[in-house]
């Protein structure tokens, strides 16, 4: 790589998404965007700013509030070789489209013996913590991660947002692209040149020797924060960022835990049957003999998320919860600021 000129810029996750959508719209005229309020309104979370103006209403389509209809329509267009990138305003509203996603998009290639493929991307943010109450704060990633035929990615940094979105758009299968409300304004270094990630690969985003934290999306940001904080106290924490929830990079997870002997999963979804359950099972199966302590999960309390700040805060997993559990797993007595 040429190191003479500036090869990266610091931009937000939002901007990385916007620029990637723009680049892909420019590169391939089969790519088009569709979703509610993505054109005139420029996106509920302003991801599509400027795109209607530059690409016109055939390539940036404002859809009525009809998630089942327009997700299914995007799927149909994909069957004929278009490469639609759908924005669903939040993952919560994808439940209205879930039949088209799960019963149709995920099934077609297999059920029709490979005669058709579905180059469809569905982008949507999840996440709680903004007092949006029970119906608007969910982390339903596991619903999609459970489904064969779908690929599910959840980038945690602007650079990964770019590389994974590019890969998702160029992929010939339906890809669920999970964003997070609290990541949109997060900044990070992003390479200027084209980046195409390999879907299905996790990344060790911080190396360490004492314990592995496995996380994804917003959780990885918190995991890194906690790892650095604990580093100052002499603990060496490794952080594995899943990046892809389906397929799951079990080797990277197990290789890390084999080295550290301790694992904690930090996840934003509910505990029972969540992402962490799959990670824990994988670790149990793969590196049981190397574990020095049971795998623990830090997940959301199992309650429809209340609006009130006090209750919301109590229900969601925090950095303090993670730090406390890391210490518990390492059998280190907790410090008062964990509480």
């Amino acid at each position: 790589m040429n190191t003479e000129v500036a090869t990266t810029r610091t931009i937000t996750y939002r901007q990385a998404l916007n620029e990637t959508l723009r680049a892909e719209l420019e590169r391939d005229d089969k790519v088009f965007l569709i979703g509610e309020e993505i054109g005139i309104f420029e996106g509920s979370y302003k991801i599509t700013v400027g795109l209607l103006e530059d690409f016109g209403p055939d390539r940036v389509i404002d859809a009525p509030i009809a998630e089942e209809g327009f997700v299914g329509a995007a799927l149909g267009a994909a069957m004929l070789g278009m490469r639609p990138v759908v924005e669903i305003m939040t993952i919560n509203f994808s439940l209205i489209a879930i039949d088209q996603i799960v019963n149709h998009a995920a099934k077609m290639r297999s059920m029709f013996a490979g005669q058709v493929s579905i180059p469809l991307v569905i982008r949507m943010p999840g996440g709680g913590g903004q007092q949006l109450a029970a119906t608007h704060s969910q982390n339903l990633e596991v619903w999609y991660a459970h489904i064969p035929g779908l690929k599910v990615v959840a980038p945690s940094t602007p650079a990964d947002a770019k590389a994974l979105l590019t890969a998702a758009i160029r992929d010939d299968d339906p890809v669920i692209f999970l964003e997070n409300l609290s990541l949109y304004s997060a900044k990070g270094e992003v390479p200027n040149d084209e980046q195409v990630a390999e879907i299905g690969k996790a990344a060790v985003v911080k190396t360490g020797t004492d314990l592995t934290i496995v996380s994804y999306s917003r959780g990885t940001t918190t995991a890194l924060e906690v790892a650095r904080q604990l580093e100052a106290e002499g603990l060496s924490i490794e952080v594995v960022d899943l990046r892809s929830l389906r397929p799951l990079d079990r080797d990277t997870i197990c290789a890390s835990v084999k080295k550290t002997g301790h694992a904690v999963v930090f996840e934003d979804d509910w505990l029972s049957y969540g992402i962490g359950a799959e990670i824990s099972a994988t670790i149990g199966e793969g590196v049981f003999d190397f574990l020095d302590a049971p795998v623990r999960r830090v997940a959301a309390a199992e309650v429809p998320l209340p609006y009130a700040k006090s209750l919301e805060k109590a229900a969601l997993p925090s950095a303090a919860d993670l730090a406390r559990v890391v210490r518990e797993v390492l059998n280190i007595s907790s410090t008062p600021n964990d509480k």
Partner: protein, 358 residues
Amino acid sequence: MAAKARTRPESTVESTGGEPADTLRDYYEQMSLVRAFELRSSEMYARAKIGGYCHLNLGEEATVVGLMAAIEARDYLFTGYRDHGYALLRGLSPERVMAELFGKVTGVSGGRGGSMHLFDAETRLFGGYGIVGGQIPPATGAALALKNQEVAGPDAAAVMCLLGDGTTNIGAFHESLNLAGLWKLPIVYVIVNNGLGMGTTVEKASAEPDLYKRGASYRMPGVRVDGDDVLAVRDAARDALQQARESRQPVLLEVMCYRLRGHSVVDPARYRSSEDTTIAQQSDPVPSFRAKLISAGVLSETDAAAIDEAADVRVSEAVVFADESPEPDVDDLFKYVYATAVANMPTALAGEPVMDAL
């Protein structure tokens, strides 16, 4: 790119007139209360007393008052998330509504629902719902229950289900209207057509932009009324409710109004043309109803000012109450998850171990 300004389409019904002065005064008081409450909500949001999403009825006051004047205490009300005004006029105290917006335990939904999810079983306000169209199937089911529980007639209860113009494009709307038409349910679906779903105009979202005509597919009478005319709204809604309770004839009522500000308090509505904003301001039902009552001699300028002042004081009291109320107790986090106690209910907080070594 700004949306084109809307010209108001013709109503299919007219208001009657000849109304007692007391009633008119009453309606103005209610409009003034909703206006004051919403302006203060916006202010409290800016001061971070209110969080999450907050959608206001500003500009829709005549619609809110007209609809709530028509509905009877025995009727059930389902609505979307733009629900503050309806809750107030359903009889809930501004204190309890503001407390909900503040996320306090004294709020109508115990602080758990917030602005979008106001619920009060006692006054049969059966929810505020945040998912577009989410209220329509349950409202239809409530009408199904009423049909089974009661005999049709003037004393029977009915359901009023409110929804926005943008909401008529979701499948749940069409599925539900078909059920109601098919099963002859006592329900009135009211489309509060403020011309916009977030930033999308009706014309850009609905292939048949005369939304009341959508009833035809389900053999349901469709009526359109001027939402700035409180009496016309009330009369049209009463008439529709009467058909629902007496003849089990569901009705689709479209009320034409304007949204004065953005979709929610954080939306600056830059996509909106200045022309459209001007029209919305010119047809603002609160000052125009006020002026009408003054010129008709129903109110003096002093009376009107006193009413506005009283509304403001009322809302100030609500703010004080909300501010001083406690937040819900964290120990009650799991309190309402299930009605029937169940073995092994998960109650772990984040990071708490789910298993002790056996």
